[in-house]
Amino acid sequence: MSTLTPHELDQQPDFQTGRGRRSSPMSWRWRDRVALAFAWTAGIGLCLIAGAIVVYFVVKGVQYLRPSLLFSRPLVSTSESGTGGFLDPLLGTAILTAIGIVLAVPLAVTSAVWIAEYGRPRWLARAIESCIEIVAGTPDVVIALFGLAVFQLGFMGPFSFKAAGGGVYGRSFIAAGAMMSLIALPAIFAATRDGLQAVPEHMREAAFALGKTRITTIRRVLLPSVRSNVATGVTLGISRIIGDTAIVVFLLGASLRIESQGSVPGVGLLRGTGSTLTTYVFDNSPAGEGNAPQKAYAAAVVLLAFVLGLNLLVEYIGRHQERATGLSVATGAV
């Protein structure tokens, strides 16, 4: 029927338009034609849905997003116009992301290095890998409940917001940030491990031939060469942390404003409670207490802008790396 290479086939206008010498879809069996039509519909429909979401939020953003919202703090008010902006949620998102990434990167990179470069005993390495897969598959509500159980323990009091009576709430930036690191962990781990496995063996051999030990090779040769993989993983991790709602709802409390605990400035902030953009959207949607949909839309637009920016960043890192080394960065982890 056709002896075209796949490359040529892709170039063939006949295949797409249905005109031509061979294999016009019009001559196929009807089942194949239906399947072909369905594939086109599904693909284009999905693009349309994505386009509709983006257009919808751009329109809402133009309608409701004002620069002043970004710089004013949330207020309690009965009217929607009096509820202030979302400076505190923005700061909350930033703090949580910082804590989550700072905790997740050492753990993820260390495990990835150990599994890719040492990995002995074999059963332990496999067990650790499965554990990370389990973390990746655990719903965020479950992680949130786990965090609540841990940080409500009495001796965790120093890390947590306390009620006036001394009861431990288990809620603070530290608690939420620690659990956020579990959300970011699998993405960073997978990106780093895949990067290490893609480093050609001769680079290690060259380092060994120069008399370097394994750990020196890792530090001086391998880690520098997988830098952009780690960066990709971190970016994916950040976008997961920014998008997570459940952990914040359970572990950061319900107040929209950041409230510190104690008088020490930095520590008090970390022990305090607050909100993030996601909980701001959640609280101001009709499902939450605030019910100020315009504010929810505005915050959602900002959230989407962040996610879009992070996506572009991943793409940019990938291209940059490909141009520099010829190795492609796996960006498929979602």
């Binding site: 194949d32 050492p106 260390t110 150990w114 719903p139 965020d140 709602t245 949607s285």
Partner: protein, 328 residues
């Protein structure tokens, strides 16, 4: 001390240190299962396995638990969670089935059919859709789809038919399924596209040479060779769908309805629903009441175990497919 750290480590010590740090992940996972199980224990102690059976409505049980206070009597622990399990299964199942069909054909479209320019556009779009936060999807559902279903799709007679037991506002099974499908499809597509693209083009070319038309060749060779990765994609997407809490809690009306087809399939699709994950979010304020807290931890435990079973099932399904696997 610092000087010792700065000097190159002996290899054996480095290996042990890195290994020990990696083991921390294992410790965290074990601790997670242990903590959730310990907190879930009281409710199973009082209910046994009939926790999962049907019986009285969970809604009234939840109310009793909330009013029972800090030191609840044994009777307050009573819960028959079948409607919640049913809600979870039906919402997740329908969404996964729909998303699977959609994703498989879209991935074929993207990898094999789409013109080069369209493909370059689609892949970033899919990645973007996969990373949109669930609360944003929930917002769209709540402010766009729920009013649409409530005002235009549900007829007055349908509202009247169940008016005695519940109100149909539009927050319903069908909205939850639709949005969940749109949420998990991009995850599946991203993984499936990668898998399909990794199958050598010459395999498909061979099939075309044997007389299959290009679409058949893709279905018979490329998709078949990519089956293990497709299973992995479905497993991952199912895990996401089962655990989706915030979005479902926003759009589903939050009411554990008993499975009920008395008024036909359509009316069932318009009824509110509650899943395990969304129940945890809905009752977050009641976690401090021991009976309710324990019940919610039991649901979390079920979600955890469900996730484990899911990945084991995925592994077992993949085993016999290895034979024709294409490695990228």
């Amino acid at each position: 001390m610092l000087a010792r750290l700065r000097n190159p480590w002996p290899d054996s010590r480095a290996e042990r240190t890195l290994g020990a740090v990696s083991c921390l992940v294992g410790v965290i996972v074990v601790a997670m299962i242990a903590f959730v199980a310990v907190h879930a224990w009281p409710t199973f102690q009082h209910n046994g396995l009939s926790w999962l059976s049907s019986g009285e409505s969970p809604e009234s049980s939840f109310e009793k638990m909330q009013t029972a206070g800090v030191d609840p009597p044994a009777s307050a622990y009573r819960l028959r969670a079948w409607p919640l399990l049913y809600g979870t299964l039906i919402v997740t199942g329908a969404a996964v089935v729909l998303a699977f069909g959609l994703s498989l054909f879209s991935s074929i479209f993207i990898v094999e059919l789409a013109p080069e320019r369209l493909r370059k556009l689609t892949i970033p779009v899919i990645r973007l859709l996969a990373s949109v936060p669930s609360v944003v999807y929930g917002l769209i559902g709540l402010l766009v789809l729920v009013p649409f279903v409530g005002n235009h799709l549900i007829t007055a007679s349908e509202k009247d038919s169940v008016a005695a037991t519940m109100q149909l506002t539009g927050a319903s099974v069908v909205v939850a399924i639709v949005i969940l499908t749109i949420m998990i499809a991009p995850i599946m597509i991203a993984l499936m596209c990668e898998a399909l693209a990794a199958v050598p083009g010459s395999w498909r070319e061979g099939a075309i040479a044997l007389g299959l038309n290009p679409l058949r060749a893709v279905m018979a060779v490329t998709v078949r060779a990519a089956r293990p990765a497709i299973v992995a994609a479905v497993v991952l997407a199912t895990a996401r769908a089962v655990g989706e809490a915030i979005m479902i809690s926003m759009v589903s009306g939050s009411r554990a309805a008993r499975p009920n087809f008395d008024h036909g399939l359509l009316v069932f699709l318009y009824t509110p629903v509650r899943t395990f994950a969304s129940a945890i979010v809905d009752f977050r304020e009641g976690l401090s009441a021991p009976a309710l807290g324990s019940s919610l931890y039991a649901m979390a435990l079920l979600l955890l175990i469900g996730g484990l079973v899911l990945s084991v099932c995925g592994y077992l399904i993949k085993l016999p497919m290895r034979k024709y696997q294409a490695r990228g």
